[in-house]
Symmetry: C2
């Protein structure tokens, strides 16, 4: 009686143990835990080079893939919960300027790197490469600032506000680029009308989710608060998150866009009167589910890096140039701080890490095809992962250094 | 770009929303929430009768099935966490006697019902039917006693202790019966040697897991406590649980046996010094994951009840006789209370509910085959689910009544 859950249990045990050991080593050398999870994934996924192919099978298992995708849906929901729609409206001009500069410049630079190093690839590949460089990782940025005790500084508020807008801008860009590629795949070529429709869909979905969500969610939680039973706060939040994530996917956006919007919409005020004695803050309730599923995403991402592809020198060149474009591109953010007594260098450095969002983009690219070829080949994927690893690696020491400089 | 997580998100949202609405209705009429989850599952799964086949597809989806199985692994881990190996050793003679009487009698009665109503089925089917009647549902029993404010009475301690032993006895019986069927399926016939090997495996695994687990787990948590990172307590516990569940499956037992053993082994003393400020009690950390996954199991169980099979009168007859055997069988438990000033009737009634463990047995039977035929046919499965529904339904009012009688 082969139990279909048995191989999944073994894979989860190995992934979780590896993630925590890798995270521990990363933190011991002063790096974020996510870096260690990626590296452990790279090591496990490439054990087939030394005759242990089991993890290569795990990396391509459908159920593990769905668990990882559930993990990243929950991660973006968690990140979204840390901000509110109000926060986004309040950060106003300066954060918006920082965000736009920090999206446009790396996109252009990334597009240029693609055109330079992959002249035979289609412009879609170049545009996608640029898009993968746009989004700042809210999680890593916030965690580094918190670890350094600077989460309440004006620079931190601008960085975090811009990172929030960045995420949305980056996700819209991704949706546009992915949608354009999908249109082209269907043979309809580049259609500015199609771009407009995709953009409109993305904006209408996000706007609708945020506006309707803010209006609907207090009533939803009000109704759910009258139900009897246990775990109602968490369950209601999960149903809301999963529904928005599904709807985002249904209109052609990534599921994580909906999950992130769901997190932004939900505010403590909506459920503070939830009449349950054993309920805690929603973030505390979502976190244990993330503890189980989020590392599956990062370890699996690492497992999909094929070290064989590093044998090609153009991957290393691509990785290096992408990393430079990613770092240099975000330094344009400093211009957003002009005209105020701010530590502009720290703003630029704080926007560098790409982390999970860059990996999500890269992963999405793996599943996009154009005329039978993947938009993101294993080689490009490896280059992007190296870029994510390097930008994640460089930020903590760089930010620590720039914030420690004399004020001015 | 079809995201494979999108249909899973929609199914989870529907299942969770249905589970909570069903649970609310059940609690409003004084019944346990699990009953409402089952009924909602039955309704959703049979919507194909009115032209909505989508949930029938969900009921047979591989990923949803694995999520449900993960849910029940976590449920048994949670139930196991509520007791310790020490509790099991302390309950001693009286609980053991109650447990053995409450296992043997329903097994014999269930076997007899099978032989009476299904004379053409193999004796394996009869034995399996009997086995499904053996285990008391710890969760439902404990919850009813708690709801009635009697969790600390001597009767409650005996019932809960016996229910714990019952679970283990029932799981061993299940392993033996399932193992014997698997041996027969391989054409080796009934072999007393094989039974002895299966029994030895089960006992050695459980004994080994408990003895080695108690010795190893404090060291494991001691080592994990020295790691850096977040979520380490929960992750270490999950790795321990998943590993034991996988090992149980690897030696031919059900994965849930290992998960339950893992829960029994882990005690607060093992991780009370865990040097993390944000860590809470392990049960509180596991619960949110259960909140997501456990209802998937119960709703899916309900969805697998095919109302079409109720059209056959022999299902209703079988269901009714099984229910009578299940109730009458547990009244033998009252004999375990002889010779002490105990409310023996309440002990017998408190042992009635079958709940999740009965469903787990029934579900396992669906995947066991003998000579190409399933041990538990859809009709038998429906009969067992009706038995679970009825025993779950009858316990709260009956126990309330018997405990309210004048003492003596």
């Amino acid at each position: 009686m082969a139990d279909p859950v048995a191989p999944v249990l073994l894979a989860l045990a190995a992934i979780l143990a590896g993630a925590k050991l890798g995270g521990d080593l990363a933190e011991r050398i002063g790096q974020p835990a996510v870096l260690g999870e990626l590296v452990v994934g790279i090591l496990l996924g490439n054990l087939d080079l030394v005759g242990v192919p089991w993890f290569r099978g795990v990396a391509s298992d459908h159920t593990i893939d769905v668990l990882a995708r559930l993990g990243v849906v929950l991660l973006l929901f968690e990140v979204g919960l840390e901000s509110t729609v109000g926060d986004m409206l309040k950060v106003g001009g300066r954060s918006l300027l920082v965000a736009v500069l920090g999206v446009v410049t790396p996109w252009v630079l990334g597009w240029g790197v693609g055109a330079l190093l992959l002249p035979d690839a289609s412009p879609y590949v170049h545009a996608f490469l640029g898009a993968t460089l746009t989004a700042t990782s809210v999680g890593i940025t916030a965690r580094v600032l918190k670890d350094l005790g600077r989460a309440q500084s004006p620079e931190a508020r601008i960085i975090l506000g811009a990172a929030v807008i960045d995420d949305v801008l980056g996700l819209v860009i991704l949706a546009v680029v992915a949608g354009v590629i999908t249109s082209a795949e269907r043979g309809s070529g580049i259609s500015y009308g199609a771009v407009a429709v995709i953009l409109a869909k993305a904006v209408v979905f996000l706007g609708g989710a945020l506006v309707l969500g803010v209006a609907v969610s207090p009533r939803l939680f009000g109704l759910a608060g009258r139900l009897r039973g246990s775990g109602l706060l968490l369950t209601t939040a999960l149903v809301f998150c999963f529904t928005l994530a599904y709807l985002a996917s249904a209109v052609g956006l990534a599921a994580i866009v909906g999950a992130y919007a769901a997190g932004l919409v939900l505010e403590e005020a909506h459920y503070v009167d939830f009449p349950r004695q054993d309920e805690r803050r929603l973030g505390d309730l979502v976190r244990p589910i993330g503890t189980l599923l989020v590392p599956v995403f990062f370890v699996l991402m690492g497992m999909r890096v094929e070290l064989r592809s590093f044998a090609h020198p153009e991957v290393l060149g691509l990785a290096l140039l992408l990393t430079l474009a990613a770092i240099a591109g975000k330094q344009a953010c400093a211009l957003g701080g002009l005209g105020a007594p701010l530590d502009r260098l720290s703003i630029g450095i704080g926007m560098i890490p790409r982390g999970e969002v860059g990996l999500i983009f890269a992963n999405l690219g793996l599943s996009l095809t154009l005329h039978g070829e993947r938009i993101v080949s294993p080689a490009i994927f490896s280059g992007l992962v190296i870029m994510v690893v390097l930008t994640t690696l460089i930020t903590p020491p760089a930010l620590k250094w720039s914030l420690a400089r004399p004020a001015g």
